[in-house]
Amino acid sequence: MIVELRNVSVRYILGDFKDIGIKEFVVRKLLGNYKVREFWAVNDVSFSLEKGDLLGIIGTNGAGKSTLLKVITGIMVPTKGQALVKGDVAALLELGSGFDGDLTVKENTYLRGAMLGYTRAFMNEMYEDIIAFAELEEFQDRPFKQLSSGMKSRLGFSIACLVNPDILILDEVLAVGDAAFRKKSEQKMMEIINSGVTTILVSHSLEQVRRLCNKVLWLDKGKQVAFGEAKEICNRYEEFLKKK
């Protein structure tokens, strides 16, 4: 067992606390009319994966897919339940975000590498390759904010793909950059997937899930509808979408 989720639930809290500020919060708390609403984005999800599994997570918008991925990556702690993850996780979530617009491309590359847990020696060694893969050789000393959004995602992808993780998490990333880069990135992705890592893939393309995944988790409004063999669940999901 490399990934195991036991009754994982995540609760978001909705309210106006961010707008009212601390003074108003204290006053309302004292008066007893401070109220928040709860919202379970992920509700009682359990599944487990073996080494080499390729899991596709499907579901309509707002099903809780991204929140669940954040739990597996360790970014979020589940409100209830347990998430056991063994090994290094490489998560490719929203690739172009989280960079610093004022720093140069080179500085951002090193900073991102450091955040992903690489060492400086490793980055020195790989830097040329990263830039070459992202096709940003001429932009190395430009401020990051001058890049197009496609270029930003390309850089994010190139840095994140370097490692040989035990678990790879992909959130709609097989749609990065222009057609040529997409082909290149998908090739790279398949290379990593085929090396035997455990992969979790969120995709709205059912065709892609059918083609790649051996297991599927279907979520709807945070609840687990089904988990199991890819083919059977994909067929059921297709039926479900037709009825809607």
Binding site: V10, R11, Y12, I13, L14, G15, F17, K18, D19, G21, I22, K23, F25, K70, T73, G74, I75, M76, V77, T79, V89, A91, L93, E94, S97, G98, D100, D102, L103, E107, Y110, L111, G113, A114, M115, L116, G117, Y118, T119, R120, M123
Partner: protein, 262 residues
């Protein structure tokens, strides 16, 4: 056992790399790669000092020995405190875009902010010591004891940063309230006035303010060439550790919770 030790070393190496890159980023962003940028951060306390000297020497200058140094010590410590805690407060909010996408230890952002503030402080301290020399105060080995309040301040600032950064994630008006608070701390830290003229029991009350305690340590060493008592050292450490303890508790309890609030 050896394997585990190796892994630990590897992890520390990675953390150090992240730490260095974050400090570099904070510096570059703050000074925008300009020469005046670094100079400015040292000039700001000097200009404040100049204004204070012009205004207050008239009132307190005659009764206080080495009045310029007295004020400079106050400004030096207070500016450091204000910069480190103010930056610490914003450390999590400013980087929320990063750690809601990547799994990084959040306290790193706070630590790096504190280290860049510390470097700034040490640069200003060089100017301070130059002023001390110009004012005709002889340097002595006791000056090395100044490391002690600096370490206490660092711990104190990190602790307060842990508290404030968590609060600021939930409440946006923390910033304004804290600005108000630091203003009060400034007036209560006896930066530009001596406290001798207050009645004894009021003088004691000043020691409730940790910033005043650290400023006084500086003044005792530099102006009076005296090492404070052991109990005074304990008081310094007590404030630093108390705030760090509360800060760590709050950080541990709330640092991942704000992701639930949308």
């Amino acid at each position: 056992m050896l394997e585990g030790f190796k892994k630990h070393i590897e992890k520390l190496k990675k953390r150090r790399f992240l730490f260095e890159e974050l400090v570099k980023r904070d510096f570059k962003k703050k000074y925008k790669r300009t020469v005046l940028g670094v100079a400015w951060s040292m000039l700001a306390p000097l200009l404040t000092l100049l204004v204070m000297a012009v205004v207050f020497t008239q009132f307190f200058g005659r009764s206080t020995p080495h009045y310029i140094i007295y004020m400079f010590a106050g400004n030096l410590v207070f500016f450091y405190y204000r910069e480190a805690t103010g930056g610490g407060m914003r450390a999590l909010v400013d980087n929320a875009g990063i750690f809601s996408k990547i799994n990084v230890p959040k306290y790193m952002f706070l630590f790096s902010k504190n280290v860049s503030a510390l470097i700034n402080f040490l640069l200003t301290m060089v100017i301070f010591l130059t002023f001390v020399a110009i004012d005709g105060i002889a340097f002595s080995f006791k000056f090395f004891m100044l490391v002690y309040p600096v370490v206490c301040l660092l711990v104190f600032n990190i602790g307060l940063g842990l508290i404030l950064s968590a609060l600021y994630l939930f409440f946006k008006d923390t910033q304004y309230l804290y600005d108000l608070f630091t203003l009060m701390v400034m007036y209560l830290s006896a930066i530009f006035y001596p406290i001798d003229s207050f009645p004894n029991y009021l003088q004691q009350l000043f020691y409730i303010n940790p910033v005043f305690v650290y400023i006084t340590y500086f003044r005792t060493i530099v102006i009076h060439n005296t090492v404070p008592s052991l109990s005074y050292h304990l008081l310094c450490a007590f404030y630093a550790l108390l705030v760090l303890l509360i800060g760590s508790y709050i950080y541990k309890k709330y640092n991942y919770k704000f992701l639930y609030y949308v």
